[in-house]
């Protein structure tokens, strides 16, 4: 059990980032999103994920910037804590323990040291009764503080956190629930309530869905279920309050948000159109249509230049299996409606979407539209098979099977064949044959048949266009087939018909044998891999895990365990089985040839397992440790019902992940111009080239080059000499100088620095650190005046000489030339 601590469950992204509105940092450089049990920080400029703020043990339910310090962020979580972070460096500053599950957090500038939290009134969250409480955060130097000073503000709180908002200068807080809007004034300690009628004449629903307060005026904007936006004014009177109504959205307004100046109001809904209303100009509005998904939240940066919309394409349910594209090693799953998304696991980044349905998606609630429900890759990643269907009821079910070929030229999949009536009923499962020579697709459907599809089998079709057509139709006693699987060498096909597993030969389409282990319908089916390919493993609904030896056609072993998901590793003999029992999921990894689990991990997560996949590693690890050996060749990723993508990681791996995340932090002190990027790349290359060969001799060149470059970059363009003059000098400055002797004093100093660096190198053995260091140097020397005391005398002298004339630094540059 001690060893197990080494292998631990790691969240590696994928979880919803749209649960709560994202926030943009005050300087507009970062976007922060609550995602699973961490807060993700993205850069607005590069649009890359930078790092996560990890530390909560449950879903993060709210984030907000600390009004007292714009570099800090508060986050609250269902684990009952509020944490204060430095989000740039990703440091946890403080933890405040509240003790109740928290559901949203609000702060205002006026209330220093007080956060407002949503907590559930009753312990069971089924009864959706929420309370808004003000919590005084105690000022204490300790890391973990218990905050016990709770005072209730109101109990008429909607579970939807966007139904609460602070008003101008934090003087009041507005919150709505169902049909009632309440405004609580802190100074007067009085609540004003305004109700709407339940229904309009036309039966439209008036319930509140979101609230925003104007930053300068006393005006509250509310969004409603029927798509209306109301602007409330004069709400210190219970009678003489007034509101104006605007109507554009045809479905519920998901979000309203004022720009920081208050000149515009932004709203969004399922239509995936961002609407910008001019404040005070009636119904004058502008649209930003086709944003690609229904809008859930909108936030604005404090300078009003950036709007951040979060959409619901991070979908509620993944219908297809998780798959790995054999080419790009990307995780493939449902993306935008009707699309498959390719998602890079390494970088936690969405690569691209493949439009499967190829129909316009209409953003309207309650429409039945085509969805991709099944997808499969062949072993080389050359073919992709997809199934899309529409219609919840089987009577109006529409579906089609599509086969996509990979196009080398365009580097993407191209539609090859569309089969509209592949089966007469819903397709249950499909798989490609695993042999490399012939590709064959087998589909099983609820109509009691399984079909094999081959490419170009039809003689009528032309030679150069190889379409797919049906090769064989098989059935067994009119039973409904559920699962199908090819053995590792594609010599056998196993199809399960309820309680019976049939083994077929794909060459002759002959029923070889049947295996049966009643009672219990077969739920999952897979062949063993590599050395265990003679084994067939199946799970049944009656909590039985069976393993047959196909040579003897006899049951090798069976064990009673409730398995919800069975996943074989294609690169090893291992099979992972997830078992969901009494509100937590356990993982067993075993080899088919022995009934003893290789590895068990109790309580992987509390939710039910949804999908799992083994992802081959780019380079295998060489862990000798028995418990983590199974992770050497490939990594297990799994998706829970909450759409958290989890994986197992080992200790060595974690180190690597840590360093890779650091690499992504870009130095923001220097403007990221193309020029800079060019130079930066160049410099790094130079470092790589030079470091191993002659470390001592070349290093001195580095800082000098940086001084001139920074000077070049920091000198206004109009005082610079002509570019033609500069260019030759600039290029020569980048060349390796062999005049090390002349710059003796400077080199001494640099070499001492170099020693320091090498010490550091020993510690980290990573050359990225070096890059960091040199960047720090660069930064230090960019502002010469501040760091002067740190410089040696020799360097001071050098600097004086350099600063004598305007372009003396250039003279130095020329001097340094041979």
């Amino acid at each position: 059990m001690v060893e197990q601590s080494e292998v631990r469950v790691v969240r590696c992204g994928g979880s919803k980032i749209n649960l709560r509105p994202p926030i943009i940092s005050t300087d507009s450089r970062f976007v922060l999103c609550a995602s699973g049990d961490s807060v993700k920080v993205y850069s607005t400029r590069t649009e890359e994920w930078l790092h996560s703020l990890q530390g909560h043990t449950n879903q993060v339910t709210g984030i907000t910037l600390n009004p007292a310090n714009h570099l800090q962020v508060y986050s609250c979580s269902a684990d009952g804590t509020v944490k204060l972070w430095d989000f740039i460096d990703g440091i946890l500053i403080k933890t405040f323990i509240i003790g109740y599950p928290l559901f949203a957090i609000y702060v205002s500038e006026k209330h220093d040291g007080i956060v407002f939290l949503h907590i559930a009134m009753d312990t069971d969250s089924k009864n959706e009764c929420f309370q808004l409480v003000a919590v005084h955060l105690p000022k204490s130097a300790e890391q973990e503080v218990e905050a016990k000073e709770l005072s209730a503000v109101s109990s008429r709180i909607s579970p939807n956190p966007s139904c609460t908002a602070f008003g101008r200068e934090g003087q009041y807080i507005a919150f709505a629930r169902h049909l009632q809007l309440n405004v609580y004034f802190f100074r007067k300690q009085k609540t004003y309530s305004f109700s709407l009628k339940a229904t309009d004449k036309k039966g439209a629903k008036n319930a509140f869905t979101c609230i925003a307060c104007h930053p300068a005026d006393d005006c509250i904007a509310t969004g409603h279920e029927d798509g209306k936006i109301r602007l409330w004014r004069n709400f210190i009177h219970t009678k003489e309050y007034t509101y104006s109504t605007q109507h554009w959205h045809h479905n519920a307004v998901n979000t309203v948000c004022f720009t920081p100046e208050g000149t515009n109001l932004l709203s969004g809904g399922i239509e995936s159109v961002l609407v910008q209303w001019q404040y005070g100009a009636g119904n004058r509005k502008e649209f930003l249509p086709r944003l690609g998904g229904s809008i859930l939240h909108v936030s604005t940066s404090s300078d009003g230049q950036l709007f951040c919309t979060s959409h619901s394409d991070n979908r509620d349910a993944v219908l297809t299996d998780l798959m790995i594209d054999p080419r790009s090693k990307a995780l493939v799953l449902n993306g935008k409606p009707g699309h498959l998304q390719f998602y890079s696991l390494l970088r936690d980044k969405h690569l691209y979407n493949l439009d499967i349905v190829q129909q316009e998606y209409i953003y309207e609630a309650g429409l039945d539209q085509f969805e991709v429900v099944k997808a499969a890759f062949d072993i080389k990643g050359y073919w992709l098979a997809t199934v899309e269907e529409r219609g919840q009821k089987s009577s109006d079910l529409e579906f089609s099977l599509k086969l996509w070929a990979y196009d080398e030229r365009t580097q993407s999949f191209v539609l090859n064949t569309t089969i509209t009536a592949a089966h007469t009923d819903r397709i249950m499962s499909m798989c490609f044959s695993s042999s490399e020579e012939t590709t064959m697709l087998v589909t099983t459907a609820e109509d009691g048949q399984f079909k094999a599809w081959c490419q170009g089998a039809d003689a009528d079709t032309q030679q150069d266009q190889n379409f797919w057509s049906c090769d064989f139709v098989g059935s067994y006693h009119n039973l409904k087939p559920t699962n199908c699987s090819f053995s590792a060498d594609s010599s056998l096909l196993a199809v399960s018909f309820q309680e019976v597993i049939t083994i077929w030969s794909p060459d002759t389409w002959e029923l070889l044998t049947t295996l049966c282990q009643p009672p219990g319908v077969v739920r999952d089916l897979c062949f063993g891999q590599l050395s265990c390919s003679k084994y067939l493993i199946a799970t049944t609904t009656r909590n039985l895990l069976c393993c047959w030896n196909l040579l003897t056609c006899a049951l090798e072993w069976s064990t009673s365990v409730e398995v919800s998901k069975l996943q074989p590793d294609p690169l090893s003999e291992n099979v992972a089985a997830f078992s969901y029992q009494s509100k937590h999921t356990d993982l067993f990894v075993f080899k088919p040839n022995e009934p003893r689990p290789l590895f068990t991990h109790k309580n992987v997560c509390s939710e039910k397992m949804h999908r799992a996949v083994f992802v081959p590693r780019e380079e295998p690890l060489n862990n000798c440790d028995e418990s983590s050996q199974w992770l050497n060749r490939s990594q297990l990723y799994f998706l829970t019902q909450n759409m958290d993508l989890l994986t197992f990681s080992t200790a060595t791996e974690e180190d690597r992940m840590l360093s890779s995340s650091k690499r992504l932090v870009i130095d923001d002190s220097v403007a990221v111009t193309p020029f800079y990027l060019l130079l930066g790349k160049h410099r790094q290359q130079q470092q790589k080239l030079n470091t191993p060969s002659h470390p001592a001799a070349d290093k001195p060149q580095q800082p000098q080059g940086s001084v001139t470059i920074t000077e070049l970059l920091h000198t206004p363009a109009h005082v610079l000499p002509a570019a033609s003059v500069l260019c030759s000098m600039f290029v020569s400055s980048l060349l390796i100088s062999n005049t090390g002797v002349r710059q003796d004093p400077l080199r001494e100093m640099e070499s001492s620095e170099q020693e320091m660096n090498s010490e550091k190198e020993e510690e980290h053995s990573e050359e990225e650190m070096e890059a960091c260091d040199s960047q720090q140097e660069l930064r230090a020397q960019g502002s010469v005046d501040e760091v002067t005391p740190k410089l040696s005398k020799a360097q001071e002298r050098e600097l004086k000489r350099v600063r004598k004339t305007d372009f003396s630094w250039m003279a130095g540059l020329i001097d340094s030339k041979p």
Binding site: R168, A216, D217, D218, C219, R233, N234, F235, I236, H237, K239, E240, Y241, T242, Y243, S244, T245, H250, G280, A281, G282, N283, R284
Partner: protein
């Protein structure tokens, strides 16, 4: 409740005329409404918007503006004249030509000293208001284009005038223009069209609000003559503006049929930096809104669709009640249909003519609710055009169907009808007594032997009718000496009594035998909308505008016991919440305890022998009663039996063969005859 054979009459093609102008008098709480046909109506705003007075119009008299000066009402129209009305006698007092071409607007200053009219020739003419007349004073600087709208500054020193493409501010003292503010034309194709400033409002803080044909409501500063703010309210025209008395709310009527409210609210609570903010939008009209008026607790609007809509402002109402509900007034609160009870003839009163119809006949009997086979179709007997330009003020047909009488503002004509089989002919009675020059209300006695004509000073002239002609019998004068015109007359079945109700809410009862005033019913605060004298008990049954009812025993000169019980117990909440007044009171001769009433939406029979409902009992209990057994019914039934089978009722009359005539004018039919409204894009069409 009893069963009746019902003549469901739908051949009365009454078309209400569109509303052109509104003027609200805050002191008397009266709303003056001018219609397209030139008629002017006075509604009492605090008495459930009862239509107190109707001054019929004339041919070719398009009223464009109305203005109150004190308690005097002036109007001006495209015929170029300014008219003052005699409201006591409900007629035009005099008309003065302004000599400036058609007049587009008229407005009086708050001081009540001057009237300003805007004329087609570009002049603003000032008239001084004297004791009995108005006197032209002078012209302000003449402009090139017509003056469409005018508004006085509350101080009376400045006038803002809306014109084509611009707004001018005049100094009243000098008559010169102070500022000229240009209104922008629309963009695109409407660029070439001039922008008409349909309406201006001058606020006391120097802000001028304008509504124009581009669809903008603009706020201007009169000191600098600059635009402060503009609100795009509609794609079409903003036709009317009105500001509340304390200038914190403004309503704009558009040609889309919407009323848009602006409010002067503080942007930051507790501070005084108020701004005009667009708040609510009311859509109660299908057609152009030509006039709006913000009264104390409601917004009144009227337009081409001929309905007067009273939209209450809930934030200004202290207690919600039936009196403060949304109210739509489609039909006049006067009778336009008269029935010759004994001969089955119907007289329809149109503004310019009368129509006489004979009711159809049916055969057989049917189960309740079924329609009978029509044996003989109703037939139009007579189409009587009015001589002269004046419209009909009142008319009547005698119960026997032999006499028809109508009166305009200037003349009264009495006809005798000869009806032998299919030949219908009329003869005009030529020698009328001099007193019958004009009448406010006309009524025949039940035996058709006398004609009662309500005249000036609440007096009633009696004329006896005979084959040879008519003879003046005498005049009935009230003791109170009221000058208000009589709007209701009711004669008793036995020819003994005559009751008259005037606009002062007085009801006088005269003894026709002695031709003396018998007594006066105690004056109630609300106007009488309908009354009738019971045939057997000789009790006067009165309905009031606030839905109260009274029964007054003429012989005992006091309220009956039943009436006192009603007053003591109070009427049912649902009865009080009805928003149209009862327009006729009839008595069922077969069951003397039955009183038949109707308003626009329902027909009601009050059984005076049954207990009154209180607020807890089910008011509309017909369906419940049907499902109960005979014995249970007794305990559940109450005095009010309401029939809602008929809608948009103009008149219900009980004729002598125990059948009811219900004259309906479905609002859908009215809507189809209206001009097409402005086409608007609707979502998902």
């Amino acid at each position: 409740m009893g069963e009746f054979k019902v003549h469901r009459v739908r051949f009365f093609d009454y078309m209400p005329s569109g509303i052109r102008a509104l003027a609200f008098n805050r002191d008397t709480e009266r709303m003056a409404v001018a219609r397209m046909d030139g008629s002017v109506e006075i509604f009492h705003c605090s008495d459930r918007f009862f239509q107190e007075k109707i001054i019929p119009g004339r041919e070719q008299c398009g009223i464009e503006g109305l203005s109150w000066v004190g308690e005097r009402l002036f109007s001006a129209g495209l015929n170029g004249g300014i008219t003052e009305y005699d409201l006591t006698n409900q007629k035009v007092k005099y008309t003065i030509d302004a000599y400036g071409g058609p007049i587009w607007t008229i407005t009086g200053n708050q001081q009540g000293t001057h009237l300003a009219v805007g004329c087609e020739d570009g002049t603003v003419k000032l008239f001084e208001v004297n004791e009995d007349k108005i006197q032209f004073e002078r012209n302000l600087d003449r402009q090139k284009s017509r003056i469409v709208s005018l508004s006085w500054h509350p101080s009376g020193s400045k006038i803002a005038a809306g014109m084509m493409d611009m707004i001018q501010i005049f100094n009243v003292e000098t008559g010169h223009s102070i500022h000229r503010m240009l209104a922008d034309r629309g963009v695109g194709t409407s660029r070439s069209k001039e922008c008409v400033v349909w309406s201006v409002v001058y606020l006391s803080d120097g802000t001028i609000v304008s509504g124009d044909s581009v669809g903008m409501v603009k706020l201007w500063d009169d000191q600098t003559g600059t635009l402060i703010k503009s609100h795009n309210v509609t794609k079409c025209d903003v036709l009317a503006l009105s500001v509340s008395q304390n200038e914190d709310s403004l309503v704009a009527g558009t040609s889309e049929g919407t009323v848009v409210q602006f409010q002067f609210v503080s942007m930051v609570l507790g501070k005084d930096d108020n701004e005009w903010v667009r708040t609510r939008t009311f859509k109660n009209h299908t057609h152009d809104i030509r006039a709006v008026a913000e009264i104390t607790t409601a917004v009144v609007s009227g337009g081409m669709d001929a309905q007067l809509v009273v939209k209450p402002l809930l934030d200004k109402i202290e207690v919600r009640s039936a009196a403060s509900a949304l109210r739509k007034i489609h039909f006049p609160h006067r009778r336009l249909v008269f029935c010759a009870r004994k001969s089955g003839l119907m007289l329809f009163q149109y503004p310019g003519h009368l129509e006489l119809w004979r009711l159809g006949e049916s055969e057989g009997k049917g189960i309740p609710g079924s329609s009978l086979f029509v044996k003989r179709n109703p037939e139009k007997l007579l189409h009587l055009k009015v001589k002269g330009e004046d419209h009909i003020r009142c008319s009547a047909v005698s119960p026997c169907g032999e006499w028809i009488v109508y009166s305009t503002a200037s003349s009264l004509r009495l006809y005798r009808l000869h009806c032998d089989n299919n030949n219908v002919s009329i003869t005009k009675i030529s020698k009328l007594p001099k007193v019958l020059s004009s009448a406010n209300q006309l009524c025949f006695s039940s035996d058709s032997s006398h004609l009662f004509s309500a005249s000036t000073q609440s007096s009633v002239h009696i004329v006896s009718l005979s084959q040879s002609g008519c003879k003046f019998v005498g005049t009935l004068k009230p003791k109170s000496g009221s000058h208000q015109a009589i709007h209701l007359l009711a004669a008793s079945e036995d020819g003994e009594w005559l009751a008259s109700a005037n606009s002062d809410h007085e009801v006088h009862i005269y003894n026709l035998q002695t031709r003396k005033a018998h007594c006066t019913v105690p004056v109630y605060s609300s106007a009488v909308t309908a009354m009738g004298i019971h045939a057997t008990t000789n009790c006067l049954f009165m309905m009031y505008a606030d839905q109260q009812m009274c029964e007054y025993s003429i012989e005992q000169k006091q309220y009956t016991d039943w009436s006192r019980t009603v007053q003591r117990k109070g009427l049912h909440r649902l009865w009080m919440e009805r928003d149209t007044p009862c327009l006729n009171v009839m008595f069922n001769p077969q069951n003397p305890s039955h009183v038949i009433l109707h308003d626009t939406y329902m027909l009601c029979i009050i059984d005076q022998s049954l207990p009154l409902p209180d607020d807890k009992t089910q008011f509309y209990n017909q369906l419940t009663l049907k499902s109960l057994t005979e014995e249970q019914r007794k305990s559940h039934s109450h005095a009010f039996k309401v029939c809602k089978t008929f809608k948009d009722i103009l008149c219900v009359e009980l004729i002598s063969d125990q059948s009811l005539v219900v004259v309906e004018r479905p609002l859908e039919d009215v809507a189809t005859q209206l001009p097409a409204p402005i086409k608007q894009k609707k979502f998902a069409t």
